[in-house]
Amino acid sequence: MEYVIEMLNIRKEFPGIVANDNITLQLKKGEIHALLGENGAGKSTLMNVLFGLYQPEQGEIKVKGKKVNITNPNIANDLGIGMVHQHFMLVDPFTVTENIVLGMEPKKGVTIDMKKAVKDVKEISDRYGLKVDPNAKIAEISVGMQQRVEILKTLYRGAEILIFDEPTAVLTPQEIKELTQIFKTLISEGKSIILITHKLKEIIEVCDRVTVIRKGVGIDTLDVEGTTPNELASLMVGREVLFRTEKKTAVPKEAVLEITKLNVKDARGVNAVKDLSITLRAGEIVGIAGVDGNGQSELIEAITGLRKISSGSIKLSGKELSSLKPRKITEAGIGHIPQDRHKHGLVLDFPIGENMVLQTYYQTPFSKMSMLNNKEINKKAKKLIAEFDVRTPSEYTEARALSGGNQQKAIIGREVDRDPDLLIAAQPTRGLDVGAIEFIHQRLIDQRDKGKAVLLLSFELDEIMNVSDRIAVIYEGNIIAIVDPKETTEQELGLLMAGSKRKEAGEDTHV
């Protein structure tokens, strides 16, 4: 049997935690190999070891049967290993080509041969069906395109083995389909792929084999053919996982959030939200479905005070919010799980404890006479860490050191715990494992059952259909339909999201 990569008995420790404990992963040539495990199981760590970002305490790595010592990413590059990180590493004001050739520019004398660079990039892009415009600026292309630039970057450097760390977490369903196609082309061109993902369906659809790790320990490697999502889930969590969250029918009460004729401009000054009206009641979850870029982000930023509105009104239990500062809005009773956890959700250099009181640090009991009460802060953090199963060595650990999923759980814990009248959850389960997703969905439903309103934004139709009591379809900045998840199908939603109006719903948007 021919393995292109063998990671044998890898052990990697961090202060207070063994992230990888004797893990073995073998990658065959031409296969797509999934790496599956709960949040904090050690997947990213293992891949960072392979890419030369971390040095293992124990174990060895073989590339094509030869023992190697990968002490930095340059060596990984030379060995034909490329990595597409979950958080992209691109220079925004540069063009696609400039980003790709950065560090290994083709030279003409002493100047960069830009013509050749563009040509090379175009060639690789065409060969793998990536359809990237070599001259576009990074800041101007979509997240999905940026990801392709990352892929191109590895290919340009001659990667034979590509590592993808949760590539689909940031993509829309359509983009995911296209990425799957790209995977197939890569394989047919003789590449091999390691794929980290929490989406079991994806594994079943595209992968050949899967290695499961749990709490840093390798559990098993098995062929994907013949497994089921249920089997994979229980292997990785160590118990049975239900896929459908059980919930009673909603009993909506008085209106909590009333938005009327809202207009909001985006960063470029273009109207992103247009005359949008919607009402959320206490005791219901409203899901916002829509293709990315139809005004969802602007809508949420407007409600939470992070973006100025141009006209209209936003009322929380009758109180006008639209001219208030974020602090006042938070105090009025809004919780917000933001879409971008690194940009908005956390101060990565703060310990988890301080992050848990990011909006409440000045209130009793966390502060007394303008002095911080660290004892109370850490007590609160400890409680939330336990309640939301945030896997961290302690509340003093910097948020940066947590795995992506555990960072997300920390944010959700903080926001749910404040028990806001309106909880805005933007892609709350992005990057979470199936067990955690189930738990978070249950918590959202619990909030609803307690008589709170929940606004859920998600690009996953499954999630929208499962959790919401009503689904509002947003298209070009407007709610074009409100549907009942029990009476609709994914197909119908898909059509609506693409802008085809449904008569009766279209007339009845302001409920």
Binding site: P338, L346, V347, Q359, M371
Partner: protein
């Protein structure tokens, strides 16, 4: 980025490397490094007079270092410490000369005048940054020049009658201490060092223990998340600059009311404010680090004055050593990398 141990090891190793390379330079230029360094040490702490002088020298370094570090913790680069220090100096002397009050009121008032002037001088770049996003580095550099010429004008035409120096501040506004002076064989040591140490404690208290400090640190690390969490980013920028400027102004007051006891025409910048940048960098922008780094700078600079007399090694050598230390701290990645290699090799 770096773990705790590295954060402490990097400056320590940098200092050792600086001294070693300094020694090599001495050998190359035909001096005995052992003699050179022992002369330096003697000149800095060799007897109580030198010790007193060194402590006096450390005082403004602590304040300048705290000023730079405070702004830096909020993500701001205060290059204007020099100017803030100068206006603090002149303001404290002016209040010292203008009033006739009992010491318990006069001295604190003069010191606070220094802090207030420094704060005001830093308020300008703070508000420009907050309101119009003008970069604070550019504004603070310009404010340095304005301060220099303004202060010189005040000394010559307003506070004195076309003299190069003002009069001495009266005893009621002076930090000088006959007790400390006799203790140190009549060095210029004054009460300022105690204020500087108190300043370091206040620095630590504000940043680590208060809700205001929580906001300042948060804004320094991540403005987006701070805004999301309801903090007023702009207000924190201004606030941070004001506190930073107040520390710088206090440093100036120490010179005006303590070391010199008067203000004088500066033909060029004093350099203390710029050294503050190096002190903060070496001290890792934390209070205890700044105090230790200031102590090192004080020792090196003071010792450098005696070194040529005792061993023939020219004063400039100390500048080389300092430059090398700063070079290594600034390129700490090199040291971190070597440390990591070293750790692996040991396994």
């Amino acid at each position: 980025m770096f773990n705790r141990v590295q954060k402490i090891l990097i400056p320590v190793i940098s200092v050792i490397l600086g001294l070693i390379i300094g020694a090599i330079v001495m050998i190359i230029s035909g001096f005995n490094p052992l003699e050179g360094y022992s002369a330096l040490l003697k000149g800095a702490v060799g007897d109580s007079f030198y010790l007193g002088e060194t402590i006096r020298q450390i005082t403004p370094y602590i304040f300048a270092g705290l000023a730079v570090a405070f702004a830096f913790r909020t993500g701001l680069f205060n290059i204007g410490v020099e100017g803030q220090l100068l206006v603090g100096w002149i303001a404290s002397v002016w209040v010292g000369l203008a009033f006739d009050l009992p010491k318990v009121i006069h001295l604190p008032m003069s010191i606070l005048a220094g802090a207030a002037a420094g704060a005001l001088w830093a308020f300008v770049p703070g508000i420009l940054k907050a309101r119009f996003r003008v970069h604070e580095v550019i504004v603070t550099i310009m404010m340095n020049y304005i301060a220099l010429h303004l202060v010189n004008h005040l000394v010559r035409y307003v506070i004195s009658d076309q003299q190069n120096t003002t009069e001495r501040v009266p005893e009621t506004a002076s930090l000088k201490s006959p007790f400390l002076e006799t203790l140190t064989e009549f060095s210029t040591m004054h009460f300022g060092i105690f204020l500087a140490l108190a300043g370091a404690i206040i620095f630590w208290l504000i940043l680590e223990k208060t809700t205001a400090g929580f906001e300042l640190r948060s804004v320094g690390f991540n403005q987006h998340a701070s805004e999301y969490a309801g903090m007023n980013v702009n207000r924190n920028i201004v606030f941070s600059m004001v506190i930073s400027g107040a520390f710088a102004g206090l440093g100036g007051a120490m010179e005006g009311l303590g070391t010199f006891g008067y203000a004088f025409i500066h033909s060029a910048f004093s350099g203390v404010g710029f050294d503050g940048i190096a002190v903060a960098l070496l001290g890792g922008n934390v209070a205890i680090g700044v105090v230790l780094a200031a102590a090192l700078f004080g020792i090196l600079k003071q010792g450098a004055l005696i070194m040529p007399i005792e061993s023939g090694v020219p004063t400039e050598l100390v500048e080389i050593v300092i430059a090398i230390i700063i070079f290594f701290v600034a390129s700490s990645y090199i040291i971190a990398y070597v440390l990591q290699r070293f750790k692996k090799g040991a396994k």
